[in-house]
Symmetry: C2
Amino acid sequence: MANAEIIAVGSELLTADKIDTNSLWLTDQLNALGVEVRRKLVVGDDRKLLAESIRQSLQNADLVILTGGLGPTEDDVTREATSEALGRGLVFRQDLLDALLERFQRLNRKMADNNRRQTFLIAGAESLPNDRGTAAGQWIDCEGKVLMLLPGPPNELQAMFTGQCAAKLRGKLPVRVIRIRLYRVAGMGESDLDQLISPVYKPYENPVTTILAGAGDIQIHLRAHGETEQEAEALLAAVGSPIEELLGDRIYSRDGSNLETVTGGMLRAGGATLCVAESCSGGLLGGRITSVPGSSDYYLGGFLVYSDAMKTRLLGVDAELLRTHTSVSEEAAKAMATSARARTGSTFALSVTGEAGPESQSGAPVGTVIIGFAGPAGEPEAATYRLFGDRNGVRARAAQWALDYLRRKLR
Amino acid sequence: MANAEIIAVGSELLTADKIDTNSLWLTDQLNALGVEVRRKLVVGDDRKLLAESIRQSLQNADLVILTGGLGPTEDDVTREATSEALGRGLVFRQDLLDALLERFQRLNRKMADNNRRQTFLIAGAESLPNDRGTAAGQWIDCEGKVLMLLPGPPNELQAMFTGQCAAKLRGKLPVRVIRIRLYRVAGMGESDLDQLISPVYKPYENPVTTILAGAGDIQIHLRAHGETEQEAEALLAAVGSPIEELLGDRIYSRDGSNLETVTGGMLRAGGATLCVAESCSGGLLGGRITSVPGSSDYYLGGFLVYSDAMKTRLLGVDAELLRTHTSVSEEAAKAMATSARARTGSTFALSVTGEAGPESQSGAPVGTVIIGFAGPAGEPEAATYRLFGDRNGVRARAAQWALDYLRRKLR
């Protein structure tokens, strides 16, 4: 495989708060082209140090990508540092100036003098037009290696790489076909999942398997490369098929869709509607359901009943039931779902109650979460879970578990 | 100021998903000691490339910190690469082996053979004990510069740096006192804020001013360093006082507290209670309010009324009013707040209705959000905003604007 180094330029990227996210996006793109990233650097707006870093990276790698430092102001030093590193001059380009002047005219603004700095190319470089900003990129062939200067703003960089650089790189690199599979999994912890499937994927370097875990939501990425599509697909199947068999219906999505979108699609397909009654999740479940555009097709709304008094006052849950069983009980969850369904007239109702912490109010251990469910057929149901995390981790998992409960009921 | 380079070691940090967060934490710590970070690198588990990177960084900086690659397995190459870069051998240390054996005995586990790799130090290095893991750190003085090898797991690295390295560094560095101010601001956009305050902070390199923006929530960090506390405080005041004057009561917090905590504190102090009625925010407002531990002291719950039918059915909002004014109207927002307050018996009620997009349902432009408010005194109120962002950006800002509306009413 060919290899690359990525240099992010800008003193703001050397603070405690700022992350260089461009290199993550570029790594994904490069991997998909069969290029491995060997090293990443972040360098401040320091011409001498940047020039030295460029020289070092060109010694190490086939491809060096610089991001940022192509702006109009004096602290943007990528052009000058590259010129110094390669020992090549900067050349004024009338066509770049014309394009800039035309851009400013179109926006009805006057071009500032310092934008002229953006009309210079490294001698021998090819200009990469930027239709989203003033900084043109540059593609520089040097002694069998490639050096790219790309703008820092992610939307400009991504459009330029996707629209221009990827095709040019593909022409230079040995052909590798990349195929990807993605599974999303709910209802189990990351370490349990990894213990289950690691014997399957660990023996393989190709495909590369990556596991990303959020609160109760796990993504498994498989990425295989081969000389032909058949080879890549066969490698994917060698790892993917046994994983699918092991996980069964815990896999809720194969196209990247999240759980609120998947369950929303099931409700829409069945012509059904949904309401919620939330206690410990406090609105997070409703918030997730309504994050999907068009969710008003199947989602009606619901009740935030944070106190026992509100469970009785807004939902009519029997105060005696709450005293006997506490609000963190399957009885309470069933009563909440039943009443929310009756009061909204929805087909299905989900309820969430539990102890998110830091202290227990009901006596149930912190992390206890109960999901209730009511529908047109059968008795209301409830299930008790012991979820992991701090207060907001438990709350986020409670919403995820509720959506997964619904998914399994609708299946 | 002294300067540093940070090298994160590990091939897993060169994937599209993994971020080197240790360098962010270390940057914060180093800045607080008056040390500037000049460059950051991420290098895979490649001994030769790592050795070369260490040599280069030692040429550039006073202080070089390596994180990771100190584990027991063959792919952990930080010790060998450092040995190669410095031209110093690795020395077996019986005391490190004794400590490891004692650790395993305490945990009632057998030490694996490859843990012996962790008992070797660079010749001349000082060992940094690790009470949270098996990887001892190393402090290496070399020709007036300092090289530190620290473990990769954040909890081990942080305990080692805070407990051992910071004090040793302080003894080596010129004394710098660091003082910090933090403002959190609501109710204005980032570019408006920056336009307002940049003439104040731009002329100063010390304090360093950093502006972090979330959805409608802006943090302004000022960090000043000086030889004495008085000098640092005077520098902070020179920038902070005019900023406070310009922003006035848009500053809602000076101690880092978020808006749900600040408004919660105001409600608790006044012995008041709150309920919500959410349409386009769909639960996000309730979710934020209940993210604060102890919010049940002042928060009752509320209504998720996503459709017009639910606004009438759950809250009794007049269907004729919704037909005449649409649900995205100040009339609807006021009726929602008034009814939610009556039905829950709370002191105050907040309502949110609007058009989050992608398409408008009511005819109001996407981004239109209306906050309603009802309390014990005076008529219900409402205010209309035009918020920025995609669907979930508008929804997140709607919750933020509602909390800020409440804050200004309670003030």
